[in-house]
Symmetry: C2
Subunit: 333 residues, 2 copies
DNA sequence: ACGGCTTCTGAAAGCGCTTTCAGATAGCCA
DNA sequence: TGGCTATCTGAAAGCGCTTTCAGAAGCCGT
């Protein structure tokens, strides 16, 4: 097709390429002619040919555990922001909290020839690391910190511990956790560990019956809290893996005649759109997904373009205080 | 790289290609040798070269107005489902309810060489249609019906009218609408028109002060309802463009001391996750996003593979009755 | 007007696959 | 075993760009 443009403009394909890629050093009249011819013909370069020739695909891949999760959508959209500015496309895939699936999806993207890869978390299939290394493209992990790999995220254990400490400062002593699936999910796991350690540091413990793992979603939150109540003395406060889970737990609490925060303090994760509008408004750990995405995008672009980068970028989560947390009814409880 | 595999297996690249693409007619021993060599070398085919050679990119593009909207995320994820099964990748982009931006994004995808394109709605930049035609790839529109283009969707006007009729059957006579942005958005526009016509058919009218257009989100819903109350006699029922908007409106109603559904019936759109969990549970028009996505994916794949398809697939929306709607306090009101 | 520069330009060689086409090999029957 | 067909296989020609390299054209000063 570039041939057609060349013919029409009376130049060679080399010149067409030079003009269309904004190279200097083409005489104005020829440049004009090429522009016009391309316009007239509605010329659209063949991406595959260009990619083959330049060995640049101009796309980066991203594999997230769940594309329907607000935090991940936001990170994708902010990564895309940055990529687009640099002329790159984002190709996203869903791994569904499963290392094997993640490997499959990522391989798929690698085969496509992406120039960079964004992953979530610090646990991945060993083969995946091998393939990425072999392909030679830059990779960045997000939402958690890593000892060895490039990453943009925060210390999940520390931020969850902060929430636990806040609850303990309020006087809570029986604190529960409802997390999403922890298998193949270092973020969820780290949060629970962080909470358990914070409790331990003050001589408390996370009772097994107050440590619940459920699948995500509002329904999961309801089930989770129901399950928690089934196990002996109820907690006076809970920390949930997402705001959806917190929402579900609050609904279940109310259905059982427990008032929030009177009988139960609730903390969520993510600061979703609806969190401030729940009744009561939800205290939550705000994860700066957009900032994480921007940083991750910048990181990848920089490495693709051979610019220096810092390996680890920390974008700390933040405890947003709202009305779903309060001191327990009886402080000694 | 295929050369390396060929050398290692003691065959030609032609044979390597045949084996790796599952062609019959390669002797078992050579096939084995190729497989092993590919495995050993961790061979990953170069997608660009393959695309250039086959003139198939094995990817389809999708441009949605807002990637953070639940309905669109769901449709993307279900389209991807189908594509993946057929060996295709989904490349998604965000258009932000703007025809120019949509054109830009879609062109970007077209340049990438996608083999098919999914759009939302029936209003697009005229140049976009021209470019799609020139590129010769199949395109399918979603979420609304079209007179001329391939589409998978439903009659937005009719489904909204159904909601209006339901409210009128309950006895409501002052019905309001809070929609998202209607510019460049045939779905939103059609819904309002459908409601206005349904009202007109029963001798009522959609008062201008009860016809509110806001930006999406819970905050938008609150603002929208506040605005509506500012304009004279309040409605006894409202139909909202999304469940988020409905949520926002309900919050504002409660803040004003109005009870739902006692003083105000509320209907949303989408049947989001949280809709059944609101207080009261939200009556809403369920849009079968997943089914739309599956059908759209199947449609594109079929056309890419040269199989016959029906141009128009209707996947009707459904009115889900919950507790946020009831007869008005005084039926004559 | 001409030599010596600099600036432009086009021919051609890839990029790494797929696929055709013709030749090599294997299989079969007489 | 020889001849003929049916299977396999590899050489080579693209796919549509980019980019190198050498030659053409333009510019300048004398």
């Amino acid at each position: 097709m570039a041939r057609d443009v060349a013919r029409r403009a009376g130049v060679s394909t080399a010149t067409v390429s030079r003009v269309l890629n904004g190279f200097a050093g083409v005489r104005a009249d020829k440049r004009e002619a090429v522009m016009r011819a391309a316009q007239d013909l509605g010329f659209v370069a063949n991406g595959a040919a260009r990619a083959l020739s330049t060995r640049r695909f101009m796309a980066v891949g991203a594999v997230v555990p769940n594309i329907e999760n607000e935090a991940f959508v936001r990170v994708l959209s902010s990564v895309q922001d940055r990529l687009r500015q640099a002329g790159y496309t984002l190709v996203a895939a869903n791994a569904g909290y499963d290392l094997e699936d993640e490997l499959r999806e990522a391989t798929f993207l690698l085969e496509r020839g992406v120039d960079g890869l964004m992953l979530v978390g610090d646990i991945h299939h060993p083969d995946l690391y091998a393939r990425i290394a072999r392909s030679g493209i830059p990779m960045v992990q997000t939402f958690s910190l890593s000892r060895v790999h490039s990453c943009v995220g925060f210390d999940n254990a520390a931020s969850a511990a902060r929430a636990a400490n806040y609850l303990m400062d309020l006087g809570h002593r029986r604190i529960g956790v409802i997390s999403g699936l922890r298998k193949d999910n270092d973020r969820g796991g780290a949060r629970v560990i962080g909470i358990a350690q914070a409790l331990a540091a003050r001589g408390l413990r996370l009772a097994p019956e107050h440590d619940i793992e459920i699948s995500y979603g509002i329904g999961g939150g309801r089930d989770g809290f129901r399950q928690m109540l089934a196990g002996g003395l109820p907690p006076t406060a809970i920390i949930c893996g997402t705001d959806q889970i917190a929402f579900g737990a609050m609904i279940e609490a109310r259905a059982r005649g427990l008032s929030v925060p009177g009988d139960l303090s609730v903390i969520g994760h993510n600061d979703s759109d609806f969190a401030p509008f729940l009744d009561p408004p939800l205290t939550t750990i705000r994860i700066h997904s957009a900032e994480i995405g921007h940083a991750a995008g910048d990181h990848l672009i920089a490495r693709i373009q051979g610019r220096p980068v810092v390996r680890l970028t920390e974008i700390d989560a933040e405890l947003i205080l709202r009305a779903s947390t309060a001191p327990p009814r009886r402080a000694a409880d």
